[in-house]
């Protein structure tokens, strides 16, 4: 028991929670934005992979770190444009299109990476984002090292979560977004163009997903390798349901999830005789459990996965 308490009382755990949560916050917010407009984007896993690859590649070729993040975001928006063209303009199956984007974006990432970087025994690295100590706050005992010595993209992800919560609930744009996801016909009648809103939400959401991926190669690690996203995209899709499509809760859900992940990583060293695979399974099982608990209670956008064609019912 005391081993458990020791883990929870270490500042290192809480610092790790924020670090693990960051890509999930980006990805969950991106998926949430898209789904609030009425479109599920299962391209997330591939878009995160592509963002991780292209952001890293830009920095590897001499760009600075923020340019790398920007390149990743733009690439994400491009995949979002493809998804929007197929699911919004043509009204194709959002499930299958998204999976297709994931398969395409991830294999394209590996192709470009392999072309740009020849096979080497040790993968090449870049200098990643360094932790920034918030002046004053980082000197606080325990809380300082736990919460205020993160890299800038982590702080950015939290700012974006708060900003998104504000936009969704407090601005005309947010109202138009929610209308497009709840009832696009009514939105149209109010002079809102649901098609444009959906294009915008999918592209902006995909940009956020790609930034989550880029965080992996530019902050959490310093190199790119295939399959490094490891299902984080799918976990984000589950977190959106867990958050009941609310940005604030998405932030909370990602942090809660990251807490369990950081906790099990440290638990592995305490419980040495349990196979490590059991611990690695936990995030996925936890996501499934969260879905089972929340699916009925969550407030699904009413027009989610329904294509909207003007003049067609």
């Amino acid at each position: 028991m005391s081993a458990f308490l020791d883990i929870i009382a270490s500042a290192g755990l809480w610092a790790a929670v924020l670090r693990i949560a960051t890509p999930l916050i980006f990805g969950t917010l991106g998926a949430l934005l898209s789904e609030r407009s009425g479109v599920l984007n299962l391209g997330i896993e591939g878009i995160m992979t592509f963002g991780a690859m292209i952001g890293w590649l830009a920095v590897f070729n001499g760009a600075d770190l923020w340019t790398g993040m920007l390149v990743a975001a733009l690439s994400g928006a491009l995949f979002g444009l493809v998804h929007a063209a197929m699911t919004v303009s043509l009204g194709l199956s959002q499930h299958v299109t998204g999976l297709g984007i994931t398969l395409f974006a991830s294999s394209l990432s590996y192709y470009i990476f392999r072309l740009a970087v020849p096979l080497a025994s040790t993968p090449p690295t870049v200098t990643p984002f360094q932790p920034i100590s918030v002046p004053g706050l980082s000197d606080l005992p325990f809380i300082g090292p736990a919460l205020f010595t993160q890299t800038l993209p982590t702080y950015l992800s939290i700012v974006i979560a708060l900003l998104l919560a504000y936009i969704v609930y407090r601005t005309p744009l947010g109202l138009a977004l929610r209308m497009s996801g709840e009832n696009p016909h009514a939105a149209e009648a109010q002079g809102v163009d649901p098609i444009r809103i959906r294009y915008g939400a999918i592209m902006a959401g995909s940009a956020l997903m790609a930034m989550g991926g880029a965080f992996l190669t530019l902050s959490a690690f310093n190199s790119f390798f295939p399959t490094m996203v490891q299902g984080r995209g799918w976990i984000c899709i589950a977190l959106v349901v867990f958050a009941s499509w609310r940005p604030g809760r998405a932030l909370f859900g990602a942090l809660l999830f990251a807490f369990f992940d950081a906790f099990q990583l440290r638990l592995q060293t305490v419980l040495g005789n349990v196979p490590y695979q059991m611990f690695l399974m936990m995030p996925y099982i936890l996501s499934i459990a969260a879905l089972a608990v929340m699916a009925r209670r969550a407030r699904v956008p009413q027009a989610l996965m329904q294509p909207y064609r003007r003049g067609e019912r």
Binding site: L99, G100, F104, L108, Y111, L115, A295, R296
Partner: protein, 349 residues
């Protein structure tokens, strides 16, 4: 400019759509090959000769197509009923590990003609069991099965990794994490001498025919298609939706599990965590390329296997990463979706 639903789907378009989709995908992938500084037509030529140039290459392509047919069928039958089974990868691994466990146990004392069908069934049941989890979650808690079946892939592979690192680990494998091999008489007979091609191909083709007949000629087939076309209408017409979906899930998961079983018994004889180069996910593409038609799955699996096997040879000769095969196949899924759309809609000014 607007889109208008076609009154009827012209047969020419329906037949041409997969071909046009593949041509479009090859054209886009060709740009990527050109961007890498290689001659595009020569690259595609080498893919063809790499896949069919020699007798050995052709048998290798057919060997690769076998699991793709089965996972393609698994996706096709589920998607037809609008049951989104994205978990074929996990079901494949669970079928494989089940066969490795039983095929290396005391049960392997059974004679071959009994043991082989028994192991087929065991692998299928393992895949079925895994697919019933997301279905149960959907029916009981209304959880979208896409995400749950996807997440279970990771759980299944980790479970396999745990088994081959633990109770099923082969002590003779110099410390490598791989399962004990199945008994020699549980291995599938070869179709062609001195090649890897085994009778699993015949099993896969027969499975495609059976699924076709099941869908076209039986009450269950009608009910499963109705469940996909219009669930509310189907219930109204007296289709037992839950029971139909359970049957579809069993069939779909079973086919994916069988694919894993056959891959172990036909090709590898033991299980590692790289047994499948994404057969489960590629199955989704195969199913879509076939427009969910079980007989089309055979052709779509052949195309996909051609790309994968051919790209290996082309890559060695021309320095283009083998991932070009994955890119092309994924692209053809996207172009196929658009092609199907234009068999149903036309553009009007």
């Amino acid at each position: 400019m607007r889109l208008e639903r076609r009154e009827h789907r012209p047969l020419v378009l329906v037949v041409l759509s997969p071909i046009l989709a593949v041509v479009a995908a090859l054209a886009i992938a060709g740009m990527l090959i050109a961007a890498a500084g290689a001659p595009v037509l020569e690259a595609y030529g080498r893919i063809l000769t790499g896949a069919f140039g020699t007798r050995l290459a052709a048998t290798e392509t057919l060997t690769r197509a076998t699991p793709l047919m089965l996972t393609g069928l698994a996706a096709a039958i589920a998607f037809r009923a609008r049951l989104w089974n994205i978990g074929a990868e996990g079901q494949f691994y669970l079928g494989a590990i089940m066969v490795a466990a039983l095929g290396s146990s005391a049960l392997s004392g059974l004679p071959g003609p009994i043991l082989i069908p028994f192991l087929f069934a065991a692998g299928a049941i393992a895949g079925m069991a895994l697919m019933l989890v997301p279905l149960w979650l959907r029916l009981r808690f209304s959880v979208d099965e896409v995400v749950t079946s996807l997440l279970l892939n990771f759980v299944a592979v980790l479970f396999v990794s745990m088994m081959i690192d633990g109770p099923l680990k082969d002590p003779l494998a110099f410390g490598w994490p791989q399962s004990m091999p199945v008994a020699d008489h549980a291995l599938l007979p070869k179709l062609v001498e001195r090649s890897r091609l085994h009778i699993g191909l015949v099993v896969a083709i027969v499975a495609a025919l059976l699924v076709y007949l099941l869908q076209a000629r039986t009450v269950f087939g009608l009910q499963s298609r109705a469940a996909g076309l219009n669930p509310e209408g189907a219930v109204f017409a007296g289709v037992p939706l839950g029971r139909t979906l359970v049957k579809v899930a069993c069939l779909s998961g079973g086919l994916a599990g069988l694919a894993g079983a056959i891959e172990v018994m036909g090709v590898k004889s033991y299980v590692t965590t790289d047994l499948s180069p994404g057969y489960g996910y590629a199955g989704i593409i195969v199913a879509m390329l076939a427009n969910l038609n079980p007989l089309g799955v055979i052709a779509a699996a052949l195309f996909t296997a051609t790309m994968f096997v051919g790209a290996d040879g082309m890559s060695r000769a021309m320095g283009i990463p083998t991932y070009i095969a994955d890119v092309t196949v994924a692209l053809s899924l996207l172009t196929m979706l658009v092609a199907i759309f234009f068999t149903q809609y036309r553009i009007r000014r």
